[in-house]
């Protein structure tokens, strides 16, 4: 996980963002969100599976960022993309092919 000027880049390295991994992930995010970032690029290229608990963490992350908060998701697998569609999160998260490509829509 690294921070660039203005945009926080978060690479998720858990292959399964599920009930087992979610608490640790949430704790990592809490540490990173100390500076209340408004724009975040979330790299999910290493994530194969997200369950309801993992999805809940993504939503609470968005809520934590407030009304101005914007999240771009990079590298979502077809299964993750489908989950975002079913839950309508595709309307809240900007989906991009690469971290660099995510910077423009977030600007």
């Amino acid at each position: 996980m690294l921070e660039n000027t203005g945009i926080l880049e978060v690479a998720v390295d858990h292959p399964r963002l599920d009930a087992a991994a979610a608490p640790a992930f949430r704790q990592e995010l809490d540490g990173l969100f100390d500076h209340r970032p408004e724009r975040v690029v979330l790299d999910l290229s290493h994530v194969d599976f997200i369950d309801s608990t993992g999805l809940g963490v993504l939503v609470s992350m968005l809520k934590q960022m407030g009304a101005k908060g914007r999240i771009a998701i990079v590298g979502a697998s077809p299964a993750v993309r489908r989950l975002l569609e079913i839950t309508r999160l595709d309307t809240l998260f900007i989906q991009c092919d690469s971290t660099s490509a995510a910077h423009d829509p977030l600007a």
Partner: protein, 405 residues
């Protein structure tokens, strides 16, 4: 602190001395009494065994060579007499000190040796050692008794929790549709929680106006908290009992706001709808729920159900029901993500496609058979049957007049 305890233990130490030479035995007994012990002196191995059988002894001091039963035999018998969890410290008096002989004595159960002529310091050492072991044994015994009691209490508590869970499971299962037919509508379902209690809930309620309210709830997470939430949502939907498309949207909006008002992270995906068989149509809302499947013959399509957000995320979320045709012969299948996301050892999910194929292949066959085949196909996909998520499915069929008769 510990040495004080040993001194105290030493004063209560019951010592049995076996020596065929009464002079040596009495002298030793006198020395023991001087050192604070309570001594009993006998002149043979057999007499020593009688004392051991009839009273508590902490330290046995035996002469090696005695007529009849010698010291080694007495030790072996004494060890046989005392149970494995009782304590008896044994010291052997001998003039000999060969390693081989001492090893044999050790194997027979001797803890200490006293060499003749006896020296007072050696005697004190044996008494201190016996007193220390007695104290430790006493503490261990008390601790064990405490552990046994705690274990019994924990087991009883566990049994109570198990009984409660069993009762809760029965209560949860009673929520499942208890009818397989409502007018011209036939129902079938699958329900298999991943834990003892699940966060999924299936419901159906006939409406007075010849219609059916139906739903499938999947609460975030598993286990007791998810089960309690799904139990509440199940009753809340039935309480709101929407009878029209408009009321259906309003009911979901109400439920969403109610969950959002709670100060926790819980949320649920819900597929909830109404079927009016006479009008040959239905309405459905999918709040973050996998899109239900609609089958007419072997043609299967997915219904987006107004694609809305799960309930409990954002209080301004909109829930607009979607209409779907439901002519005689049509089948509607609601399912939890646990079915399509059932993943086998190779990491392959059961997926929408297998579910669609199972539904298509069941065309013309009884609805119950579809549920059975789906169960078999899931088992074939995951032979271990260790499901990570709750499995639930509700199938509704508009029976044709022919089937009805």
């Amino acid at each position: 602190m510990f040495s004080n305890a040993i001194s105290k233990a030493r004063t209560n130490l019951k010592v049995l001395i076996a020596d065929d030479d009464s002079l040596t035995g009495d002298y030793l007994g006198f020395q023991m009494e001087t050192l604070g012990c309570r001594a009993t002196v006998v002149e043979s191995g057999a007499a020593a065994l009688d004392v051991l059988k009839g009273s508590e002894v902490h330290l046995l001091v035996s002469d090696w060579q005695m007529p009849g039963m010698d010291g080694m035999e007495l030790v072996a018998e004494a060890r046989r007499l005392t149970s494995s969890d009782s304590h008896l410290h044994i010291a052997m008096m001998t003039a000999r000190g060969e390693e081989k002989v001492m090893r044999a004595a050790m194997e027979a159960g001797v803890d200490d040796f006293l060499y003749k002529p006896l020296q007072s310091v050696e005697l004190e050492l044996v008494i201190a050692s016996a007193a220390r072991n007695r104290l430790l044994h006493h503490r261990l015994k008390r601790r064990n008794a405490q552990l046994v009691l705690e274990h019994r209490r924990a087991t009883e508590a566990l049994e109570r929790v198990r009984a409660d869970l069993k009762a809760a499971t029965a209560l949860h299962e009673r929520l499942l549709p208890d009818f397989d037919r409502s007018g011209v509508l036939r129902l079938s379902h699958l329900y298999r929680p991943a834990a003892i209690l699940g966060g999924d809930s299936i419901g159906a309620a006939p409406l007075r106006e010849e219609g059916l309210l139906f739903f499938l709830i999947d609460v975030r997470g598993h286990g007791v908290p998810a089960a309690l939430d799904s139990f509440h949502l199940h009753h809340r939907i039935k309480q709101l009992r929407p009878k029209s498309a408009l009321e259906l949207g309003q009911a979901m909006t109400t439920i969403n706001r109610e969950i959002c008002d709670r100060a926790d992270d819980s949320y649920a995906t819900i597929a909830c709808g109404l079927i009016y068989p006479e009008k040959e149509e239905g309405w459905i809302v999918c709040a973050g729920h996998p899109p239900p499947m609609l089958a007419e013959g072997d043609a299967v399509t997915q219904i987006s159900g107004g694609r809305a957000m799960p309930v409990g995320w954002f209080d301004n979320a909109a829930y607009t029901p979607e209409r779907f045709p439901f002519p005689p012969g049509a089948r509607l299948v609601l399912y939890s993500a646990g079915i399509t996301e059932t993943t086998n050892a190779s990491g392959e999910q059961f997926g929408d496609k297998r579910l669609e194929e199972t539904l298509a292949a069941s065309a013309g066959k009884p609805l119950r058979q579809f549920a059975n085949t789906l169960t078999e196909n899931l088992r074939a996909h995951l032979p271990s049957r260790v499901y990570e998520d709750d499995i639930s499915m509700l199938a509704i069929e508009h029976t044709s007049l022919e089937v009805q008769s």
